[in-house]
Symmetry: C2
Subunit: 150 residues, 2 copies
């Protein structure tokens, strides 16, 4: 099934801000971000497990990580003027939902991009925050080609 | 990428309870359940929109709905003994994550099964709860063939 009809109103007048400030897309993207990061983290932890066991984990990605990823990808223009961290995190979630609903990327694609960017040390919290920020910045830089130019 | 290696320890000794009581799987399944239900609900609301507009929404599926779906599918045997509603909801999330990680179903398959079971009236909360319970029961009945027999 195509989900394009869920984007009909947006696609009628597509701008960076119409996508990046859409509250419904942000809510959908919240689940996509948490799911894909949870799998990516599980994969990296399992690969690096010294006793070779499988590690499955679920994580809620913090608003700070997503907001910083948006800034580092130079994509604040997708948020509303004077956006705070919460608004910017919503923007990341919204653009991720948009490219997924448009079938430009799959859940597996997003997981692969995140895994490629996550370094080994996710067990130290400060390292995880740094690496997760880079991973989401890289995800944004990969998907920006599917988003409008202004 | 196959995610089978994330299930290695489970697959070494696969039982209904080893899947249904796995906390990591439940956390991963939580995102899958919320994502797929959000899209299914958006699809049904958009299709039924009288003014023909797109409706995108994000929902956190309640523990009660998932626990009742497990009971109605006669799958309490996947939960621990004397499981409460929270444990049973976790079991639904865990088995959904298991079949998805095993590549037996895709996110799109789950959305399609939920959409097929959701009736038109999701705007009245009590109707939505009833329909969502049926939808998740039907999902469980579809995926039980991919789960161990005891």
């Amino acid at each position: 099934m195509s989900y394009e009809f869920l984007l009909k109103d947006l696609n009628n007048n597509l701008t960076q801000k119409s996508i990046g400030t859409d509250k419904g897309l942000a809510k959908i993207g919240d689940s996509i971000v948490n799911l894909t990061y949870s799998i990516a983290k599980s994969i990296v932890l399992t690969r690096n497990s010294k006793i070779n066991n499988s590690i499955r984990t679920g994580v809620k990605v913090s608003k700070t990580i997503l907001a910083n990823a948006l800034k580092e990808a130079n994509m604040k223009c997708f948020s509303k003027t004077r956006a705070d961290a919460h608004d910017m995190a919503d923007t990341v979630e919204a653009v991720v939902a948009y490219v997924w609903l448009s079938k430009k990327v799959t859940i597996e694609d997003i997981i692969n991009i995140l895994v490629d960017s996550l370094e080994s040390n996710l067990t130290v919290r400060s390292e995880e925050i740094k690496n997760a920020t880079i991973a989401f910045r890289n995800l944004l830089l990969e998907i920006i080609k599917f988003l409008p130019e202004n």
